[in-house]
Every structure is written in C-alpha cells, then in structure tokens.
C-alpha cells in the first residue's frame, strides 16, 4: 500500500488538470459540475490520506532528506538537469493539505456560485488547483516555479473576466496584480537560477542542491545578492510592505473562489520558497551584514522592519477600510507581516510558527472571502456603512463570519493562534522591542475584525438594508454555501485543538532545514 503513495501524490496533481482538460474537451453539460467536484475532491482526499500516512523519520530513506512519497520522473528535460521530482516533507505537507482543503471548498463554492460561463470558470479554477498542489509537491525547483506560474495566470484572467467590481476596475485590478506578481516572480526566478547555476550542480533538484551547498556553500557576497533577490521577489508575491498594494485591490475585485485560492494558498508560495529554499541554501546571505552609508545592515533586519510595516501600518490602514472585501484583503496583508517576522527570526521556532500560521491564515482568509461573497448576495453591497443587523436574518452566516474573524485575529481554539504564538515567542529572541511591536497587532486586528462583525451583523439595520430586506428577506446560509464553509471551519478547529497533527512532522523536518541557518547565525554572531 505504501508503494502506491508516490503515485497518489502525482494523481492529486494530475486529477484537477485532467478534469480541466475534460471540461475544455467538451464534456456534456450535465457532467461539468460532477467532473469539477471530482477534480477538487480527489486531491483533497489524497491530501488527507497522505497526511494521515506521513511516515516516521526512520521510514524515509536518508538520501531523500526527509521527503516522503518521493518519486523521480524524466520528462525529456534531463539535459537541463530538470526532472519531475515529487515528494512531501514536514514543511510542504501542511501546505499541500491546505491546498487540498481550500481547493475543495473553493471548488464546491464555485460549482454553486452561479457564475456566468461556468465551464470556463471551473476550468481555470481546476488549472489553478493543479498548479497549487504541484508547487507544494515539487522538489525540483524548476517545477516548483512552473506550477506556481500555472496557478498564477488563471487568477489574472478570472479577476479580469469574472471580477466583482465594475468591468473597468476589474481589468485595472487584474493588470496591477499581473504587473506586481510577474515582477515578483521574475526577481525570484533570477535568484533561483543563480543558485542553481552557481552551485555547480547540474540540477534543479532541491535535494541535490541542499547536499551540495551544505558541503560547499556559495560565497557570502553572492549569497547576499541572491538572498536580496529572493527576499524581494518572494516578498512581492506575499505582499511585503510596501509592495502590497496589488493584494487588497486584486482580492477586492477577484471572484470569491479565485480570491480564496489565491489569498488562502497561492500567496503562501513566497513564504514557502523562503523557508524551503532560501533558508537552507543561502542562509549566510541573510545574516551577514552589508553597509549602507556606513551602517551595517543585514537582510533579516530589513525584513523585520518591513514586516513591522505590514503589521502596524497596514493594521491601521485596515481599520480605515469601508469596504468589506478590501478590509479582508488588507487584514490578510497585515498577517503576512507576522509570517515575515517569523522568517526574520532565523530559528526553527520562527519558521515553524510561519508554517502553522500559513495553514491557519489560509483556511481563515479563504473562509472570510467565501462569506464576504455570501454577504454580498444578501446585502447587494460590500460597503460596511450600508450594512447592519444581518444576524437577525442569517444567524448561521453570522456565526460562521464571527468564527472566521475570531480565527483570523488569533483566538485560541483556531489554527491561527498557534502560528502567531510561536512567532511571538520566537521574535522575542530577535528583540523584545520588536516582539512588543508585533504583539500590538493582536489589539489592532481585534479592533478591525470585531468592528466588521458588528457593522455587518449587529445593531439595527440601516434604512436601505431594512427596505431591501422587506422587499426580499435575505435567507440564511444555504447548504451549497454551508458545506464549503463547514469544511474550512472544521479544519481550523481541528488544527486549533490538535496542533500536533501538523506540528509533529514539521518539528521533525525543521532541524535539518534550519541547520545551515543556525550555523550561519552563530557564525555571524562571532
């Protein structure tokens, strides 16, 4: 049975792609929805299966460096040192599971969304899902990048065509996202190619690179340059302040399922890249100081400062938002600041916290975008000042939204709490003052989160909404909306109450990944 698992991993990536092809190939209309559901359901089931069957470290061959379900396939690109190498380690497993779960929820929501040209919409979403699963399952850096692009492109198209704003605004948002994200992707691509080129290994295989660079690391000066490229390249993809403006705008315009997949899963790609690739391969580049006008600076310092910009500046900006979807977008940008801080800690605790936070944040922000669209169906607006009193008509929707908000602001019992906690503890080691500034975020996020809950659901309804409600009483969450929401909420609670389910494999994987970073840190200290 265990021998099948690597094949299942491939199947999880192929299934949505095959479903997308089937949709393009002219599947009969009545089979479109079942086919799409299968395309999302199968990877989710496989992800859960692989999660529950993730082997003990002793059962993983030492040559695979902690990557389980390993498989290597030649696809005709051997001359360039490129193979389709798949596998999951403790860092990628949680994200793979995240992709599976959020993909299923987004798919189920999309099937019932009533979007125009549903076939094309589902096709793009399936392509995105294949890309996401592939990016997190790839050990070969080329495919890691390729799958990311595969997932990225549908976002632009979906935002431009199926966006929730006025057509012109949708196009502008899609264009802006495309410019930013392409730029970020290109910067990181240059960095990745540089690593592979300079390593002297004729291969894009992360395992080979890790083995080679552990013995003979790149020159420190080179590492510094490459780390800068990766930091800003990946940083833009994750909406590092001040390169974040694409995110709220793009998410505000993107259709709900695309926003769920992008904000929930795809955006984590940059953080994942920093942890899985940058930290083990070029750690000295981050911890070695260079001088700016005679002041010694390291990339970790730069990262920590910018990350505080995410937490504090964007946190305050989030408070000023009047549009529900924009607010969720800004809130998501703010929480990425915690993730960057966790990486800046350069410790296993910090990196582990980042992975935990990625999972929690991905689930909660996907749930928030889903519910925001459900709210829009009932109020016909995203403007917070025009809402109020929806809880009276839709108590289940209110409960879900409140739960998602509380998860997002780090209430214990939900997955996000553990990530935030680990990061706060780790950041103290960096500097107690930075930790204090970061922990301020728990107040800021409570302010805007609870304000939104109160505006939308509590109090007396606004006049406009009361009139609309009389004409057409808004119904509570239907089962088509409730099922995907329930999937996400259940996952949030499960990890919140049982964090070990994700943390145990992660904890076993981190020491090896962080060993070069720890070495670099102690070296820099000396």
């Amino acid at each position: 049975m265990d021998a099948l698992n690597p094949q299942l991993l491939l199947l999880a990536i192929v299934a949505p792609a095959a479903a997308a092809l089937a949709l393009v190939a002219g599947l009969p209309e009545r089979l479109v929805k079942p086919c799409a559901v299968a395309g999302f359901g199968l990877p989710a089931a496989i992800a859960l299966w692989l999660w529950s069957h993730f082997p003990e470290p002793a059962a993983i061959p030492a040559a695979h460096l902690g990557f389980a379900f390993y498989s290597l396939r030649a696809l005709g690109l051997e001359k360039l040192g490129i193979h389709l190498v798949l596998g999951l380690n403790g860092v990628s497993l949680p994200l793979f599971v995240l992709a599976g779960i959020v993909g299923l929820a987004a798919g189920l929501y999309a099937v019932r969304s009533g979007a125009g040209r549903l076939r094309a919409y589902l096709m793009l979403l399936l392509v995105m899902q294949a890309g996401l699963l592939g990016a997190f399952a790839s050990i070969d850096i080329f495919f890691f990048y390729f799958f990311h692009e595969l997932a990225l492109i549908p976002t632009f198209i979906m935002t431009g065509v199926w966006g929730t704003r006025a057509p012109g605004d949708n196009r502008y948002a899609a264009m802006k996202m495309a410019v930013y994200l392409t730029l970020g992707a290109m910067l990181s691509l240059v960095g990745l190619i540089a690593i592979c080129q300079k390593s002297g290994v004729e291969s894009f295989d992360l395992i080979n690179l890790r083995l080679a660079l552990a013995g003979a690391p790149l020159g420190v000066s080179l590492q510094k340059h490459i780390f800068g490229l990766l930091l800003f390249g990946f940083g833009i993809l994750v909406s590092l302040w001040p390169f974040h403006t694409w995110a709220p705008l793009g998410y505000g315009a993107a259709p709900s399922s695309a926003a769920m997949l992008h904000a929930g899963v795809l955006k984590k790609f940059g953080l994942y890249g920093l942890i899985q690739i940058a930290l083990p391969l070029i750690p000295a580049g981050a911890t070695t100081a260079f001088t700016v006008h005679g002041i010694p600076v390291t990339w970790t310092c730069v990262l920590a400062v910018l990350a505080l910009g995410n937490v504090l500046v964007i946190g305050l900006v989030t408070m000023a938002q009047a549009d529900l979807k924009q607010m969720i977008g800004f809130g998501s940008v703010m929480h990425m600041g915690y993730a960057f801080l966790g990486i800046a800690c350069f410790s296993a605790m910090g990196a582990g916290g980042v992975v935990m936070l990625m999972v929690g944040h991905g689930l909660s922000v996907a749930l928030l975008f889903l519910l925001a669209t459900s709210i829009h169906h009932r109020t016909q607006t995203f403007d917070l000042s025009e809402m109020g009193g929806l809880a009276r008509h839709a108590p289940v929707l209110a409960a879900f939204f409140a739960a998602a908000t509380l998860a997002g602001i780090g209430l214990p019992g939900f997955a996000n709490f553990w990530g935030e906690l680990m990061i706060f503890v780790a950041v103290w080691k960096l500097s107690p003052w930075i930790a204090a500034a970061a922990v301020l975020g728990i107040i800021i996020s409570a302010v805007y989160g609870l304000r939104a809950v109160a505006r939308v659901f509590f109090g007396p309804p606004t006049e406009a909404f009361a009139r609309a409600a009389v004409a057409r009483p808004p119904a509570d969450l239907s089962w088509g909306e409730r099922l995907p929401a329930l999937i996400l909420l259940a996952a949030l609670l499960f990890i919140g109450f049982w964090p070990r389910s994700i943390a145990a494999p992660l904890d076993r994987a981190l020491p090896a990944i962080m060993a070069p970073a720890a070495q670099a840190t102690s070296h820099a200290a000396r």
Binding site: L77, I153, G160, Y180, T182, L183, A320, L411, V439, P460
Partner: protein, 630 residues
C-alpha cells in the same frame, strides 16, 4: 476512574455540551437548556470528587512541540485550584438553574446556553491549567464567551458595542500578559507553575520587575482594574445571569486567581504597583457607584470596587516576611494572596446573589432597571427581598455575614502593613455600605413608583431556589466551621496563611469594620428616602454632577483617543497608502516593468491572454532546448 480522567471530564462535559448545542440543538431551546444545565451539574459533581480527592496528581500531555518550544496541556490541582474550582462549579451550577427561569422566553435560548457551556469550559480550563501558555489559551476563550454573552441581544446597538469593547479592552490587557509569558519563558526557561515553584525553592528563579508587571496587565484587563476597568460597567448589557456568573463571580476574579498562581514571580516593586492600582480602583468605583441609578450598574461598580479590594490584598503581600513566600509549604501563599482568595470566595457568593436578586427584580418589573422607578418590592417579593438583604449585609460587612470576615482580613493586613492604603480601604468600606444601602432602600421600600413595580410578583421556584442557596453561602461562607468542618479543611493550603488579628487588634478591627459599615449605612438610610429621584442629584447637583463627570472621564479620554487620534492616524495612513504606494509606486513599477520588455507592455494594454501565450511559448522553447531541437 483516575483523578486525571475526572479533571478531563470537567473540561470535556461543557465542551461537548457547547458543541452539541451548536450542531444539533440550535432551534431547540428547551433541549439546549437541559443539556447545558446537565453538564453544569456534571461539573459540580466531578469537582466535588476532585475537591475532596488527592492533590497534585500527575496529569499532563504534550499539546504542541515545535522548534524547541513545548506547550503542555496539564492539570495542576492544589488547594488553590480546588477552592477556585469549587467556587466556579458551585456558583456556576446555580446560575445555570436560575437562567432556566430568567431566559425562558428568550428567542435565542439555545445560543445563550451554548455560550454558558463555552464559558464553563474555558473557566475550568483557567482553573486547572498547569502552565501559563495553557492558562492564556483559556484566558482568551473566557474573553470570547464573555463577548458572545454580552452581545446576546445583538440587535441592540449598545449591547453589540459593549461586547466589542469588552473584547478589545481585554486584548489590551492580554498584550502585556502575552509579553509577560514570553519574557518568563525566555528568562526562566519554563512557564510551568510547578517548575517555576521548584526553581524558586532552589533559588534559581530569575526575578525581574518586567515579568510580574506584564503579567499583571492581563489581570488589569480581565479583572477590570484601572485604567482598563471601562468595559465592565458596559458589560451589564448582557443578560443578568451572565453578569452574575461572568462579570461578578468567576471570570473577572480570574485575574486575582492568576496573580495567586504566579506568586513566586512577584517582586516587591510589582506588589506595590498592584496594591495601589487595587486601592485606586476600589475607591474610584465606590465613588462611581454612588451616582448610578441603574440597579445593575450599581452592582457592576461595586464589583469593580471589590475586585480592587482583592488586588490590593494581593499587593499587600506576606505578613511576616514581606514579598517572600513561605518556603517549603505545598502551596506557598502569602497572607495577602490568602486574603484575596478568601474575599474572592465570599464575593462570589454574595455578588452572584445580588446579581441574581437584581435579575429576579428586573424580571418581575418587566425589564425595568432604574431603581428610582421601583420601590415597595419588599412586600411583593419576600423571598427575593430576604435573599437580597443577606447579600447586602454580606457586602457591606455586617458582622456575622461572610463579607465581614473576608473584608476584615484584608483591612487587618492593610492595618498591619500600610497605613495610607488602610485609610483608603476603610473609606471605601464606608462608601460601599452607603451605596448598597441606597440601592436596597430605594428598591425595596416605600411605594411602587412605576406601573411594572406595582404589579411585580415573586419569581418562580427555579429562580428563588438559587437565591436561597447563595444567600446561605453569603451568610455562612466566612465562618471557620464552613471551611474546617463542612469542607474538612481541604482548602487549608490557602486559608492557612489567612491574616488573623489577635488580642487587642482583634477588637480594634471589629470596631473599625463595624464602625465603617454603620457610618455608611446609617448615612444612606437616613439620606436616601425612597423617592422618584436621587436626592443627592436634586439637592446638591454640583457634587452629583462632579461625580458623574469623574465617572465619565475615562470613557471620554478613550473615546477621544479612538476617534481623534487612532482613527485619524488610520485615515491618514490609508491616504498615504492610496496616493503614495498605489498611485506613484505602481506607476513607477509599471514603467520599470514596461522597460523590461514587450510582454509586460502588452499586458498593460489589458490583453491578458497575450501573457498566457508568452508563457506557453516560453515553456515550448525551454522544452525544445532541452530536447535538443535547436
């Protein structure tokens, strides 16, 4: 069944009840109420087994281990936890029963009882936690249940605002609390109470002023001490049983309990800060209570004041060796901590009683809460009146009632250690007697001053029985035989350290306590005749107005900060974000991207599909190169 399993049941029963209600009983209020009350009864039974069982049984599992940090989920069950668990489960159960009657006609009864179960789960978690991180988890969860229950009638804007305010103000406190936990973790290498105590006994504990003060921030929020007290009066928007359970008897006392838990980390400077914040809160809140006309608001300010008493008692520290816990004892309690816990227990009885009594009154008067529109209820509601009277006597320190003994212990400790604090606390005691007598007299005596009050009828048995039980507690809870004979001394680890005056000091203290009570009560009984308006307001409006402004000052200052500073800063940053980054930077970036090549320029024309072609062409090219086509 082992005792560890019993402790697990205390946590799992209410959790299962809450989950069951949320999933299956949303529309069945009656069944939800039954499940919730049954779970509270189960907690009470299990906690009695635990209270009379052994102490410090091993019960700990690893909850999370990641990157060197381990968070364990464990139980530390000593006499302190036993006392607190008894208070929570006993008072909690009777408030559940009372709610059956009080919330009978509520449309969202299931949500209410589900919320109560969430609260019981989180509160028991705080009591049983064996380390600070686990305590913090449940600490936040009681904050959530408090949010849920304050906002129970969320259609009212004021209730929704009060819920939000409570959560956010508590988060401000938790900001410091969390930093304190993290500081403790890095400085001492552990946040486990047992390990901290062991380190302290071995002399290996790292003391720092920052740790206890940061941890105290958590108590500032949760126990509503100045300057974070502003949420508690507003929290009275919640249903009255919630005010009794969460905002009087148990949750707000969790801050005091937490301080007793982390006693080994205390340093003298921190104790001094805690003492004076407690003293200031006690006095300020007592003054505010003098000018309230809403029956629940009077009780809310009185809760603040009593919590200030407890914090002050804790801050007074030990009697023999100041700031140095008695080494070697199983539970190293200072005299101050013991007095604080003693007052916490008696306060839980009498304040829960007073709130439930006020709930009975409010219920009978069709949700009229203004005491000047009540009157003459003593005749119409004899049981409620009798029970409420016991509560009033207990809180004002009438000799032979529970509050007399616990307040006496605190006053004596202050007398022995800190004269200025003693003077303020005695003044507070005078004021306490005054505002409670004012409330009591105006509500229950004279003629009915409104239609609902004239037609008030005694509440049903399901509401009266909890009142009677708590009244017995408020009358007898302070006596030695209550804890020594009835409870066989199982709480001795706490009460052993109680400060008890001897000889002449004994009589001095009784005289001062009784004198303060008589002065306050006598003045109020004579001054406040049952009337339709506050006599102080009509005869000396300057004083009354001044006190009202004094009361408002904190809310005004915070309101000013939020509206004029925080919100404006947020708007400004938003503007900067939009103009600078969205406008200028994206154009800049776009032009760079434009220079980068044709592909990017094509994208700017809005033709997105072109990008897809470029991507596919790139892939094909790469594949071609690799396959050796070129």
């Amino acid at each position: 069944m082992t005792f560890a399993q019993l402790a697990a049941i205390v946590l799992l029963l209410p959790l299962a009840s809450a989950a069951g209600i949320a999933l299956f009983l949303r529309r069945r209020g009656g069944a939800a109420a039954f499940v919730s009350v049954a779970s509270a009864a189960g907690i009470l039974a299990a906690s009695f087994c635990l209270v009379f069982g052994p102490r410090d049984f091993p019960a700990s599992v690893e909850w999370l281990r990641l990157g060197g940090l381990t968070v364990s989920f464990g139980v530390k069950f000593d006499d302190l936890a036993a006392l607190m668990l008894f208070v929570v489960s006993f008072v909690g159960f009777f408030i559940h029963v009372f709610s059956l009657g009080y919330m009978r006609d509520d449309a969202a009864r299931a949500r209410f009882f589900g919320g109560l179960s969430v609260f019981m789960f989180s509160m028991c978690g705080i009591v049983l936690a064996d380390n600070l991180l686990m305590l913090f988890v449940f600490w936040e969860l009681v904050g959530f249940s408090s949010y849920l229950l304050i906002g129970h009638w969320h259609e009212r804007r004021s209730a929704a605002d009060a819920a939000k305010k409570a959560f956010i103000v508590n988060r401000v406190g938790d900001f410091g609390f969390l930093l304190g936990i993290i500081a403790c973790y890095w400085l001492n290498g552990t946040v486990n109470f047992g390990e901290l105590a062991a380190k302290s006994a071995a002399g290996g504990l790292v003391f720092s002023r920052a740790i206890p003060l940061l941890l105290f921030c958590g108590a500032l929020g949760k126990s509503a001490q100045m300057p974070l007290h502003v949420w508690l009066p507003d929290a009275m928007e919640g249903p009255t049983p919630v005010s009794a359970l969460i905002h009087a008897a148990t949750m707000v006392a969790a801050g005091i309990y937490m301080l007793c838990r982390i006693q080994v980390l205390m340093v003298p400077q921190a104790l001094t800060v805690i003492l004076w914040i407690g003293v200031a809160t006690a006095l300020y809140a007592a003054v505010c209570a003098m000018v309230q006309s809403d029956i629940k608001k009077v009780l809310a300010y009185s809760t603040l004041s009593q919590l200030g008493y407890m914090a002050a008692a804790f801050g007074l520290g030990g009697l023999e060796r100041p700031g140095n816990p008695a080494a070697g004892a199983a539970v190293a309690m200072t005299a101050g901590a013991a007095a604080a816990m003693f007052h916490l227990m008696t306060h839980a009885f009498f304040k829960a009683l007073l709130f439930l009594g006020s709930g009975s009154v409010i219920h009978a008067c069709h949700h009229e809460q203004d005491i000047f529109r009540m009157g003459g209820l003593a005749r119409r509601m004899p049981w409620t009146f009798a029970a409420f009277t016991a509560g009033v006597f207990a809180i004002i320190g009438m000799p032979f009632f529970a509050g007399f003994f616990s307040k006496d212990a605190i006053l004596y400790l202050a007398f022995a250690k800190n004269t200025p604090a003693f003077a303020v606390l005695v003044l507070t005691a005078v004021l306490t007697a005054a505002y409670m007598t004012r409330l009591w007299r105006t509500t229950f005596f004279g003629e009915a001053r409104s239609e609902p009050a004239a037609h008030a009828r005694e509440s049903g048995a399901v509401m009266v029985i909890p009142l009677v039980v708590l009244a017995v507690g408020a009358a007898l809870g302070g006596y030695g035989f209550f804890r020594d004979t009835l409870f066989c001394g199982v709480f001795d680890g706490v009460f052993r350290s109680l400060p008890e005056p001897e000889g002449a000091a004994h009589w001095t203290m009784i005289a001062i306590g009784a004198g303060a009570m008589l002065a306050g009560a006598g003045f109020a009984f004579g001054y406040y005749r049952p009337a339709a308006a506050d006599r102080l307001q009509s005869s000396v409006p300057v004083v009354f107005g001044g006190l009202a402004v004094f009361k408002e000052s904190f809310d005004r200052a915070y309101g000013y900060y939020v509206a004029k500073v925080q919100q404006r800063l947020a708007m400004l940053l938003n503007l900067v974000d939009q103009i600078l980054f969205a406008g200028w930077m994206v154009r800049g970036t776009a032009s760079i991207a434009g220079l980068l090549g044709v592909g990017a320029r094509l994208m700017q024309n809005g033709k997105l599909h072109v990008y897809v072609y470029w991507f596919l062409a790139g892939v094909a090219l790469l594949w071609g190169i690799a396959a050796g086509a070129f």
